[in-house]
């Protein structure tokens, strides 16, 4: 029997485009659904991506990966295994667990839209497999974290987070809904596959996975690695789409890069920046957040932009400065508003601060007095008195990214205001203002937390805001992970801890 080689038959299954006869091409692939720029089919005819996976290969590979995850869960993913892990590290897991799984579920929707309205059948095939990937990425953490909810209700936020009006959830929905639920397939491919997945997810799925390994969390390490191998495959959609768009509408391609790079950067500064530089125990840190960004973004992503003939985003210098400051601004702010989030925070001690000073020599001197001040508040109040080192006044939120106004440095916050159609807006940074001004019709009607408070939709009192609006309670709202009981903080009780550990 004559058996065709794989390359001889594969495109018979992948390249199935035809010339429509009952409707015209624009009716089959209308621009609002298929994306801008609208190009005739001929422009997409050469579309291809390097993985060229068949459905049989996909199912076989995924079955093996699923089996490996389940085996590891049985071996080391039980509630008792969690007790052996560092409590700070577990909060890095909670941060990931809440912010990613249901975002991945939104990516199922985006990929299914591309599986119907993508302009080339090989693209549609890869997007269909991508949708299956993303479904898996939503389900695995939900399954793995579920067993931990009974002993730690903060893990319930793995599923609950995106269904609340907690402030990080509002910010995450604002970002994820636009990127994954509302984008057309072209914007999805460039924003998600090229920028978010090729550019940024390696921070979490490679960088944080290496820290999970050193923290002894084999289950989380395996979860991240298993997801990463899927991401690496379907992320290839991005470059293949981008190359076509650059040829026909370079300025639109550049705008999408500029927009989604900034928005992705802010998201990962929260999710990965907190986890790597604050919540990972010192002994488990393999590199700083900045060092991982330098390796994966500054080197690899810039090369990818060069390859397709695009420029770095116009705000690149601001991004480089933010790399030294933004997540530190956020962390100090979030620590002193820790009851507004669903995970516990840690007060960096002398050893952690010495490590941060060595990793961020330019910027850390600006943050040292802030952490010293917070430490002093704990010393005044004593262990267990959370509220003395906690803010009580409502904070401001950026009207684009919906995150707290933490741009710039402690000396020069970059927040700026704008009046648009008679309404005042505030933005944490120039790039956020730029994105808003580029598409005001997309963003102007959204109400941030402050607007909801002023409209009477949310309470102004912080405790009521946390409980009645954010959906947290005494059990789940974030606390200091050690309740302020640090040997270095109270040296009179622990003279051996008075000197910084090196």
């Amino acid at each position: 029997m004559l058996v065709l080689k794989r390359d001889q038959w594969l495109d018979l299954a992948r390249k199935l485009d035809w010339e429509p006869s009952y409707v015209d091409e624009k009716q089959l692939f209308p621009e609002p659904a298929s994306g801008k720029p609208w190009l005739p089919a001929a422009a997409w005819r050469e579309w291809d991506e390097p993985y060229r996976t068949s459905y049989t290969e996909y199912v076989t590979n995924q079955q093996a990966k699923e089996a490996a995850v389940h085996t590891l869960r049985d071996a080391v993913g039980q509630p008792d295994d969690r007790k052996a892990l560092d409590p700070c590290w577990l909060n890095a897991v909670k941060l990931h667990a809440a912010t990613l799984p249901l975002a991945e579920f939104a990516a199922v929707v985006g990929n299914l839209r591309a599986a119907r309205f993508g302009r080339d059948s090989a693209w549609r095939t890869t997007a269909a497999l991508g949708a299956l990937d993303e479904l898996r990425h939503a389900q695995i953490p939900l399954l793995l974290m579920h067993g931990w909810v009974e002993s730690d209700p903060q893990f319930d936020w793995t599923h609950k987070f995106f269904h609340t009006d907690q402030w990080v959830a509002i910010a995450a929905r604002h970002f994820i809904d636009e990127l994954l639920l509302a984008s057309d397939p072209i914007e999805l491919a460039i924003g998600t596959n090229f920028v978010f997945e090729s550019g940024f997810t390696n921070l979490q799925f490679v960088g944080l996975a290496s820290m999970a390994h050193r923290a002894g969390d084999r289950m989380f390490e395996k979860l991240l690695q298993s997801i990463q191998t899927d991401e690496a495959r379907h992320a290839q959609i991005g470059r293949a789409v981008l190359e076509v768009v650059v040829r026909h509408d370079r300025s639109h391609a550049q705008y999408l890069i500029d927009k989604w790079f900034w928005r992705s950067w802010l998201f990962f500064a929260v999710v990965t920046g907190f986890a790597m530089d604050y919540l990972t125990p010192l002994a488990a840190r393999t590199a700083s957040f900045k060092e991982f960004v330098q390796e994966w973004i500054l080197d690899q992503f810039q090369r990818a932009l060069d390859d397709v003939g695009l420029e770095r985003p116009w705000y690149w210098d601001q991004f480089l400065r933010a790399l030294d400051t933004y997540h530190h601004m956020l962390c100090a702010s979030a620590y002193t508003y820790r009851a507004t989030v669903w995970f516990d925070s840690v007060l960096p001690g002398p050893a952690e601060r010495a490590w941060l000073a060595a990793k961020y020599p330019e910027s850390w001197p600006q943050f040292e007095p802030i952490w010293e001040r917070i430490s002093g508040r704990w010393r005044e109040a004593g262990p267990g008195v959370e509220w003395h080192a906690h803010g009580l006044t409502p904070v401001g939120f950026c009207n684009l990214c919906q995150l707290v106004l933490c741009g710039g440095t402690p000396e020069h916050n970059t927040a700026r205001t704008l009046v648009h159609a008679g309404r005042k807006y505030i933005f944490c940074s120039e790039p956020c203002a730029f994105i808003f001004k580029s598409e005001p019709q997309r963003y102007a009607a959204h109400r941030d937390v402050v607007a909801r408070i002023l409209a009477g939709q949310a309470p102004a009192n912080l405790l009521e805001l946390v409980t009645a609006y954010f959906g947290l309670d005494r059990q789940t709202w974030g606390k200091d992970v050690h309740g302020g009981r640090y040997a270095w903080l109270h040296p009179a009780d622990h003279p051996e801890a008075a000197e910084p550990r090196s």
């Binding site: 401001g396 205001t417 002023l454």
Partner: protein, 84 residues
Amino acid sequence: MLVPIYGFLAGDTLGLLVLVHDHETVRELAERLQQAAAPRVAARPQVHVYFEGRQLALDLTVGRAGLTALDRIEVRPVESADGR
């Protein structure tokens, strides 16, 4: 009338929403911001207040200073403001 103002204290890490009556002074607004930021930044006795690049007189009322809802002000300790 209560006026919500975005306040940025030099040395702090985020912007805060401070509620102040329009008949209260700019000095009282600055004090309120410093109290709100106290977990992160120690209050300073002498500060300058800036709005749209202008330094505001501390004895002016919020209303007379021209501040309206959701304006952005900066509060800087005198020594920091002198070096800005």
